[in-house]
Symmetry: D2
Subunit: 356 residues, 4 copies
């Protein structure tokens, strides 16, 4: 099937009329002429419906706290504001593959235990001391920690602290929907019985180690055994990286979060990494087929996405659509967290990037 | 995020009003309350928009031949009728991941050389002697051959024979669109210069062998080096398989087409296989998350997909949506060809099937 | 640990004496001074004990037929003459990783069914109509066929034909011995009950296909499902390859035998391929860390291995040790079969080759 | 090829004589009768030449310090005592695949920079403050740290501290020798120029992260990027593991050291792990095809290997040959470090273990 730079010979008027008659007759049989839509189906370059956008943290937080006053966690089941891409109205999606939401959990609230085929990450924006439990092991949250709740793992949340906690929910909902592979179920009790002491996943898988047992070992280990990546760890590593290399001209200093049992992306459908741009650093323009959600952890600067430029302050959230020409600029040292669908594109042999 | 069996406490009327006010104010900021849509986002089981459907070959062929009279190959660029799923109007898709079309190439017609990131297969329904050339190596078609034109490989077609040729085009267009990873280009000349004698791909990769050269070998070999799977080969294998085992109770005798350099699916986004159901054999009910397009090569019978039952005659085409309960019945020996998105679901750790 | 170009400072005489005293005292404790042996332990380049050698087929055949007169199959269990590398006396090895033997099976003889952790191949040198059965599926031999009996698969042989059959046995015996991983057992009955019709492995796995069943498929398939590579197939492919490319300057035209479910070597410890050198073609000099056994299928020429040059006639057998500089010359079209330990070296990240 | 439980029919005397004559004539042609050696070549179970053995740390240390007085580092190049298996005299090997030595580096000594195809690990037995530099990045040693110098990476050592340092050298020398794949070279200057600050490998790869750069990323990263596994990390993880699970009945609590970019063994030819047996715990009997070197980090107990029993004190070293029935007993909490050839056996599909 071709792209359509080439000009086809024009149709004669009567030919057009006869074709329309044919189309009319075929329509009830669910048959359509490719030649009328070919140019839209096979394009030179990605033609995404998603557009760039930014959400200022302060705005979103204000609405979220108001929702906290208006509706209880029990009523809301999840008190989350969806960040919806302006180009994807009604799809509850921030990109065609990714979902983003900002969740508020007030002191004393809990979210009942369940599991689903969607892969999820939460990146903590505010507050300490709440937890996510994965298959009964709690991970206690500190600001800017990354916590995973992978595909089909039981999880529940709670906030035993005295302060509200707000996190960024990142999921692959649109991907799973596009694949018609949604499954979900409840545990039937509010929380999973404790299976391991808090922190076991990091002790067992977070330091270049893995448990070994006699006989056939591999089976016992979940596909994504490490699910808590604390800010204290990744920020120290990112600073060390920045001290040991020149920044990449297109992305600055960057560290990808790994599944330590494969060396690959943290989850089968979501990649995640952090970046550090030194004060005054400006990247060159880059495009890639992945779509990405960014949030600012520290610093100030701006980002140009296609024709739009957005100023950046801590906790602001930005979405970069596929193939959008993107340039980052750091006024002060700028630290970013991002999650994308890159791993999906790589597994399907579709990932491309273009660095100017 | 939960499924929604559980009943949340009801909202008070004034509460509802205040929420509506909040929603109004948030909308311009592209913020939406998850709790209003949660049940639609995270479901117990796949909720595909696709529906089962059947296209009788005779009908489609009739319209296709009329199109052949009405529009030239040059005008049409590709003379193809799209089989569009009745549940996906306007999407030019037979399932949310797959495209299907029936293409007519009249004697003497050619299709100019191009390449794209969509992976394509063609399954020959009628006629002998046309060819597809992949990177300049021709594969001459016989009825019921499978020919691949993988992602980003140059390909052109021609029909030097005296009879019209009709094939089933199977592509991953909706998948590539959902991933915003469409790229395409023209060669700029009608056909690719001949690179290898016809049949080289089968000689070099189709018999449990691969070329070896001194130094680092792997690089030179394309990702899908084998692209022609003749009917004479696969049907002999399928008959031999049927003679050597009891049929699988859910799918009968089945042989998957392989990429011989990986042992995996024929292409990164499309799986394909053939089936043989002995005369009188009826399968048990099976569901899987993959979506599948079937065509009948030989025999008669019927298939029940969800609540619909379709009688089957040679060359009829049927689509089975994700998770649809499916049961096949063979009146006479029934041979089927099918292509699906299973490989995508497996790579993303989402594939499931349920066998009753 | 270093290599030893560098000169260490010399030892004083009294120092030497005191060291000798220390060595004496340590010896009963199984402690030895590294510095006395370092230069032998860590060398610049491979220092193999194996040497190049050739066995003229006629000679070996003569002895083998005499053995046939002198000892029965039942008495011999296997009537095989081991080709032992002159550099490895008493090791029953043709290279430090590989075994080679020439086996004679007379009309009516059988070899009882057993299995072992050694991987074996047999390359048929003479005679048609004998068989090897693997897990109860017979492969009927024709001259120059390749037949595998992989690690831990039940196998038995028989010669129902009226002519003696002679094949080259290629095994990894020295590798398995070096790894202390030898296991073997008898079936307890002369032959395995027939499991599949002869040729099933080729029908199911030899044509770019693999059987598919509902539910979790992969488990049922043996690790090396394809075990018969007929001469008729590989020679046609090799001729086609030779017609479609320029010969590689170091190895000519070459086709590796594949495991079609992985795209890798035919067995986990043995790689095998065939080569064709056009009449008059002479290769450049090449070295590699693999050790290799070659036999001539067709043609005449010679091979220079290090300082030795051997003339080549049909069915002659030659061994090329690791890192030996090798150059091949074809007087007439020269076709070769070879098996090596390359796959082992690649898996352990040790494989190297040097092409002049 | 069979095992040899079965009795072959006996040979008649004259038959034996004629065979001897045949053997005489064949010998100069390097041809040998398989039937005379078959039972030794293919055995029921591993028949290793290695034997169990123990080296009491105090003894070895005494000899090593004496060597320190007698010979300078410059004279010795490496001041190492080889632990040689009593069953492998003259082979400088502790098992048929592994080498072990105890190295002494006195204050102020350095070892010049070189690289080789042997993979090496060093486990620190005594002393703090020395370093190993890998490709110019220093890892400063503390007691019981594990440090890798993988295949073909430049490395040099130095001891700027005021105390002697002693470490256990674990290498794959016999494996590389058996594969004839030895390569080595010197840098030509005493030490590699500093490439990265000390600890960079841990910051970049030791915490579930990996550096990411624009364009094709993977290439830049060495095959084993993490080379320093500090005692402080692994011991904390091992204690946490012991607190969170019941000990495995055959190996107790165990953590394997990983290559975080693959999830596999630390090096392509060597696996390593640590174990903790609670006070009073006794394992069941286990055999495996791997051969293993153990050293005691903490505690007291004993180990029964085949018919031998050895009492265990801190820093004692024990070798367990392939397939030896082994049972461990802890009087006090017993912590062990071990390295083995398991990864080689697994890659070659030869690994087996038997748990009673």
């Amino acid at each position: 099937m071709p792209d359509t730079q080439r000009r086809q010979p024009p149709l004669a008027n009567d030919q057009r009329a006869q074709l329309e008659t044919l189309y009319e007759e075929m329509r009830p049989r669910h048959l359509y002429p490719l030649w009328e839509v070919l140019s839209a189906l096979v394009t030179h370059e990605p033609q995404t419906r998603a557009v760039p956008a930014k959400w200022a943290y302060g705005d979103v937080r204000g609405y979220l706290m108001r929702a906290g006053d208006l509706i209880s966690a029990e009523q809301a089941e999840r008190r989350v504001l969806i960040l919806e891409n302006p180009g994807l109205p009604g799809e509850s999606a921030i990109t065609p593959r990714l979902y983003a939401g900002l969740q508020l959990v007030l002191p004393g609230e809990v979210a009942p235990c369940h599991r689903h085929s969607q892969s999820a990450l939460r990146f903590i924006m505010e507050g300490d001391g709440a937890y996510t439990a994965v298959d009964g092991e709690k991970a206690f949250m500190k600001q800017f920690d990354l916590i995973l709740t992978p595909n089909w793992r039981w999880h529940d949340h709670g906030n035993p602290s005295n302060n509200p906690i707000i996190w960024l929910d990142g999921l692959d909902i649109p991907t799973i929907r596009a694949l018609d592979a949604q499954f979900a179920e409840r545990l039937g009790q509010p929380s999973h019985p404790e299976s391991e002491p808090a922190g076991s996943n990091r002790a067992k898988f977070g330091r270049g180690l893995r448990p070994l047992r006699a006989g056939s070992v591999r089976a016992e280990i979940p596909r994504e055994p490490l699910f808590h990546y604390p800010y204290a760890d990744w920020s120290a590593s990112l600073e060390a990286l920045a001290a040991s290399e020149l920044p990449d001209p297109h992305i600055g200093h960057a560290l990808e979060f790994l599944n330590p049992t494969t060396g690959g992306a943290v989850m089968p459908t979501i990649s995640a990494h952090v970046r550090l741009l030194p004060a005054g650093f400006e990247t060159r323009v880059r495009r890639s087929t992945e779509s990405a959600v960014f949030t600012v952890i520290e610093g100030a600067g701006d980002v140009q996405i296609g024709d739009e430029t957005y100023t950046l302050s801590p906790r602001d959230m930005v979405v970069v659509p596929s193939w959008a020409a993107t340039r980052w600029r750091a006024d002060t040292k700028l630290v970013l967290f991002t999650y994308t669908d890159r791993v999906v594109q790589e597994k399907l042999c579709l990932y491309r990037e273009h660095c100017e």
